[in-house]
Symmetry: C2
Subunit: 194 residues, 2 copies
């Protein structure tokens, strides 16, 4: 802060554009072991995990007060990789306040946001640098990195009290999955969906 | 949209990184004539306006439903320029739902966010590429471009029903202003503040 006012309630959020990391905050680290049963090819998952518990994604919680006047924001970084034919991705979540929206602005990389609501409607938004995806309320959402080499970095923003419901995804999964088919991203039905 | 789901409730928001403009949406255009009485040097203002009603800034309203579950987001582009010693800036506003926060992520350029609350507490956050400023609830906020040549481009996000109170700024102004002093940005008291 170059200029000092009488209070210090605002925040400067410093994103390192090379890494996507935010100075002064620890990441929430999500390794392959955290993603048990999320990828459709269980054998490929076990075999990759046996080689090492690699990082799949990082994201941030900047610890704003939890109420409907505040916003939660930060970066999410999904690293390049695949489990079998399925791209590295976030676990994905519904909001606990189900109908609250979220915005993800793509800083760098190439990927997709997979979204579906409890009724089974689904949508996909593309991430390229400078493109944001508006995730409507009621839609679970998962970021997917389809680049073979580059991290997918996004800056997200949602109502601070929206909350994360991961349990539904952990037990049921997404109805749709994104895999590589003939060298291209493709959407398939999730054979494990319950 | 490369993949078609069963609904179309999400949005891809395509920012042209060269201009900061969003494909498919008109900008809200704010020219010098819109900024009457906002700059402290009235003579410099009149003289600049006499030469032409130049664009000072652009921003977007993506027309999301106005309720507390939705988010308003888009880009804001403040062009380089000065009125006397005072940098080009946005008019600035309080939120009508006064204690709702807002986040501005800097895409490119160099500038500052000037913030102050009704009690007169004030803060300044810096914009450089990759740096976001979290504007706390209750703080009026104004983006200021201090670059002599480059637009200041930010991506903003706030609760869709927060609303804009411009009238307070129009009648009272900000208590503080940012001007150029010895070639550097400096904060001064606003001689016109009521």
């Amino acid at each position: 802060m170059k200029f000092t006012g009488s209070t210090a309630k605002s925040m400067e959020i410093k994103v390192d554009l090379a890494t996507g990391l935010i100075a002064g905050y620890p990441t929430l680290e999500r390794n392959l072991s955290y993603m048990k049963n999320m990828f459709h090819d269980g054998k490929a998952y076990d075999s990759l995990l046996a080689k090492g518990d690699v990082r799949v994604y990082d994201f941030f919680d900047l610890k704003r007060p939890v109420n409907d006047r505040e916003l939660a924001c930060g970066t999410s970084i999904v690293y390049p990789g695949k489990v079998g034919d399925e791209y590295f991705m976030t676990k994905g979540h519904f909001h606990e306040v189900l109908d609250t929206a979220e915005v993800y602005y793509c800083l760098s990389g190439h990927g997709f946001m997979l979204m579906e609501n409890p009724e089974g409607d689904w949508e996909v938004g593309e991430f390229v640098p400078g493109q944001a995806v508006y995730v409507p309320g009621r839609y679970a959402h998962r970021s997917i990195n389809v680049s073979p080499s580059e991290p997918l970095k996004t800056f997200f923003c949602f109502r601070a009290d929206a909350g994360h419901d991961y349990a539904t995804i952990e037990s049921k999964g997404f109805r749709k999955l994104m895999v590589e088919k003939n060298g291209e991203p493709a959407i398939i039905d999730n054979p494990r969906w319950k």
